[in-house]
């Protein structure tokens, strides 16, 4: 029902686990894992601070597995997963979870689709039973599909079409990538949504919602072995299935800078720059770690270079952020988004960003600045343990995208080893030939009355 929100840099800092500053004995236990005979992986982490649990079922399918003409399939299927099975009628899944005091929802991204419940730990078996049922027995009606299609179109209008920054990001990915399926939006193009057929979803469901494409993550006040036994009982009867072929669809080399202008109603302009960069394929690849640290140095916190130099010193931008995800099944971009301050244009802001990148590429960074970033990474690991959902997210993201929860430590060690030379190499790798620049040009809405001149029809109520 939800599309995954674009994660902020800090969320990603916390999503990648690193060595802790202090001994961890007092904290939650290490995860316990098991793989069922049918390939379904179970990872359970005990955290007994409150008598609750979070359960997340991760399917390795998302918008990058879709083809043109049928974009938005994974997200639409996510909506339809609440529309009933022979034994649990439409709407009944959420009703039963709510009756148990729980909350449930789902989200879709480029690389995965996740269904989750938060509830009293004692009610976890109910969640597993319901998830296991709809994993293989979904049976929605065509009428329900027709109606839900309209809901998703409303969702797209609300989430993308009427949000300038969402249009900006959608345009960036659609322009930066020509071949790679990372180019399409997770929610799908409006026209593809409109033409979707219920049969498309049923086929998608049968192909991808199989045990060997799935990871169950549970964090909470639970006994891991009991949860694993419960999972075996609920999901163990399903058979593994050959997954559809995933073709590489490698993006050809970009042959020069791409510049895009997007004209939408907006009060202010925006600038978004995105470079095609590698992501972690193997644990000992080096450039991704350097890019990650570069992103943190640029805008990881308020004392970082871009907020300090461009927001507070030069005062040419109102806000600025960088985004880079260390690993992922989809193709990655290193992005910088800025809102120019009134009186300053996108060209001036682009020059300012380029100056900062050039300085790092040429001079590297000081040890104190690096040390600060390392502290941030280490501390965020500890802060993250306050939230059970975040702990589960981290395990799921690793497990669903080619890594193991055990890789956390190795990744963190490597992040902490990144030095000044690595960071300048990362800055040097952000070349124009890999760059797409999107400028949002505000379209002033015609005939829009100023806020003070609202048309008032006071004294009467509407009917």
């Amino acid at each position: 029902m939800d599309i995954m929100p674009r994660s902020s840099l800090m969320q990603r800092l916390t999503a990648v686990a690193v060595l802790a500053l202090v001994p961890l004995q007092t904290m939650a236990d290490e995860p316990v894992e098991a793989t069922l005979d049918n390939g379904l992986k179970v990872v359970v982490k005990r955290d007994a601070r409150a008598p609750v649990a979070v359960s997340q079922l991760w399917y390795r399918v998302g918008s990058i597995d879709e083809v043109n003409g049928r974009t938005g399939l994974s997200h639409l299927l996510e909506h339809m997963m609440f529309k009933g099975t022979p034994t649990v009628p439409a709407g009944e899944f959420s009703r039963r979870i709510a009756a148990a005091g729980g909350q449930d929802n789902a989200f879709t991204s480029r690389a995965y689709t996740v269904y989750y419940q938060l509830l009293a730990a004692a009610s976890l078996p109910l969640a597993l039973q319901l998830e296991a049922d709809r994993m293989r027995h979904l049976d929605f009606k065509d009428d329900a599909f027709k109606s839900e299609l309209e809901v998703v179109r409303e969702e797209r209008r609300w989430r993308v079409d009427d949000q300038p920054s969402a249009v900006l990001y959608e345009s960036l990915y659609a322009s930066a990538f020509v071949v790679s399926p990372s180019r399409t939006p997770v929610i799908g193009w409006m026209d593809d949504i409109r033409h979707m057929q219920p049969g498309d979803l049923r086929q998608w469901y049968r192909q991808w919602y199989v045990p060997n494409n799935t990871t169950l993550v549970v964090v909470g006040d639970v006994d891991p072995q009991t949860v694993i036994a419960e999972a075996k009982q609920r999901f163990g009867g399903y058979v593994a299935q050959v997954l559809p072929e995933r073709r590489p669809q490698l993006e050809p080399t970009q042959l020069g800078i791409r510049r895009i202008t997007v004209k939408v109603p907006s009060e202010l302009p925006y600038l978004l720059m995105g470079w095609k960069v590698p992501r972690l394929q193997k644990i000992d690849d080096r450039p991704p770690y350097s890019l990650y640290i570069l992103s943190a140095l640029l805008a990881g916190q308020d004392a970082a270079r871009l907020p300090r130099n461009l927001v507070r010193k030069a005062r040419i931008v109102t806000s600025i952020r960088t985004d880079y995800e260390l690993f992922g099944r989809d193709d990655g971009l290193f992005t910088i988004m800025a809102m120019p301050a009134t009186g300053h244009g996108v060209a001036e802001v682009e020059q300012g960003i380029r100056r900062e990148l050039t300085r790092i590429a040429r001079d590297g960074v000081g040890e104190a600045e690096l040390e600060r970033v390392r502290h941030q990474i280490e501390a965020s690991r500890i802060y993250q343990r306050d939230s059970m959902q975040q702990q589960a997210m981290q395990i799921g993201r690793l497990e669903s995208q080619g890594f193991s929860w055990r890789d956390e430590n190795a990744m963190s060690e490597r992040l902490l080893r990144v030095g000044s030379d690595d960071v300048s190499a990362a800055a040097q790798s952000l070349i124009d030939d890999n760059l797409t620049v999107v400028a949002l040009q505000p379209l002033q809405a015609k005939g829009k009355p100023p806020a003070q001149a609202e048309l008032l029809q006071g004294g009467n109520h509407v009917r």
Binding site: L149, E150, D161, L456
Partner: protein
């Protein structure tokens, strides 16, 4: 050193029968500040929040409360803003400041090790007690605030939220933040911030909430230290007036977005409202309970009219708003509005069914522990208990009082207090005036 007037500790057993307990400790300092503390050592972290009666309801000119709170960490006597930010970054701690309608707050998250915790607390105390609001920084931040306001005005949902707020509280301080304008921000002077800080950031108006890895003596010292630089001076703040009845009205505004954003609302519920539980539980059935709610069933599930529709109650010291919010394709806005009206009218007329009431109670009571399953959530609860002077056994009472409600009580409360005719309506992105 302050002398504690009294000390009261109370154990609240959540999920009766289970072992986990949340013990809320409370004390009051001689200077009047009230402190709420939950000790928990599972994670080596500490969360601290200081609230003052300095929310936007205290604005003497628009925007002052928010700018004061957000500029506290932009310079103190002895530290400029870059030094403050560098210290925060080096310690890997965060301090966030801001004002909502009722309160201004500063929130600190730090590791509990003394080597990190102590300098972090010293910095927070410094920020609270010795802000300088440098003119140069103020001018920059005013421009950023104006740009930020403009940017949010590109979002029709934000425009709708503000429009209904102005309708419900046309004169009342609860509408201050929705009357904020670029001109208002531009007019703010450094003297305004200093005066506002001086009048409102006083110990007698402070609530300190502490959750985390620290013992009771440490928590007492911490709370003392945070406020040592502040003094109680001048006459006490005037009470926030009751919310006068408003004449319901309609606001329709066109724009170029694809959806219309609709809001309906009225001032309704206070924290001390005798109908508090009946209204809250009823709202779950009407539009607060996700897919259990009638509005979601009628508008989204049955008719596919919207992705998001909900009704919300925001209990405040005086009557906070009851609102219904949704967005839908422009050409079906009137149809959606009709369904909202008929659903609301029917709910008020019939009240919840026994089945609906049982479902609402099961979710609210069964889900109560999810409201404080992390230190951060607990911190929010403590500061709310402090702000509204809720009883310390609030966490225990809440489920009990919900369980005791009958369908008749819920229906009776909604009938007496809410009528579709009493709601104001806002449509941002209207196609035409009907």
């Amino acid at each position: 050193m302050s002398v504690k007037r009294y000390v009261l500790a109370l154990a609240v057993l959540l999920f009766s029968g289970l072992a986990q307990a949340v013990v809320i400790q409370y004390w009051q300092q001689a200077n009047g500040a009230r402190v709420y503390f939950v000790e928990t050592h599972e994670n080596p972290i500490l969360d601290v929040r200081v609230d003052f009666d300095a929310g936007t309801r205290r604005d003497n000119r628009p925007g002052v409360a928010d700018l004061t709170a957000s500029l506290l960490d932009n310079g103190s006597v002895g530290r400029d803003e870059e030094e403050i930010r560098a210290t925060l970054a080096d310690l890997a701690v965060s301090i966030d400041g801001g004002a909502d309608t009722e309160r201004a707050s500063l929130t600190l998250r730090t590791l509990s090790r003394p080597a990190v915790r102590e300098p972090a607390l010293a910095l927070l105390a410094d920020i609270i007690a010795k802000p300088t609001f440098p003119s140069v920084v103020l001018e920059r931040e005013k421009r950023r605030a104006i740009d930020g306001l403009k940017q949010r005005e590109s979002n029709p949902g934000f425009v709708a939220d503000r429009a209904i707020g102005r309708r419900l509280y046309p004169e009342h301080p609860y509408g201050n933040e929705d009357r904020l304008s670029a001109q208002g921000i531009a007019a703010i002077q450094r003297q305004d911030l200093l005066a506002f800080w001086h009048t409102h950031y006083q110990p007698r108006y402070a609530v300190v909430s502490i959750v985390g890895d620290i013992g009771r003596p440490g928590a007492e010292r911490l709370a003392e230290r945070l406020l040592t630089g502040l003094r109680n001076e001048g006459p006490a703040l005037v009470a926030i007036p009751a919310v006068p009845p408003v004449t319901p009205g309609v606001v329709r505004q066109t724009n170029s977005a694809s959806q219309a954003h609709i809001r309906l609302g009225m001032p309704l519920i206070s924290r001390s409202d005798p109908d508090y539980y009946a209204l809250m539980v009823g709202n779950y059935v009407l539009g607060g309970g996700g897919f259990d709610a009638r509005l979601v069933k009628e508008l989204r599930v049955k008719r596919g009219l919207t992705y998001r529709v909900s009704s919300q109650l925001l209990p405040m010291e005086q009557a906070g708003p009851f609102t219904i919010a949704l967005s839908t394709r422009k050409d079906q806005a009137d149809q959606a509005l009709q369904v909202v009206h008929s659903t609301l009218a029917r709910f008020i007329d019939e009240g919840p069914t026994e089945v609906e009431l049982a479902q609402a109670k099961a979710n609210i009571i069964g889900g109560f522990p999810l409201r404080f399953d992390s230190n951060r959530k607990l911190l929010g609860l403590l500061s709310m208990i402090g702000a509204y002077r809720l009883p310390l056994d609030y966490l225990e009472r809440y489920p009990r009082d919900v369980a005791a409600l009958t369908a008749d009580q819920v229906r009776d409360a909604w009938r007496r207090r809410v009528s579709p005719n009493a709601l104001s309506t806002v449509v941002i992105g209207a196609t035409a005036t009907p």
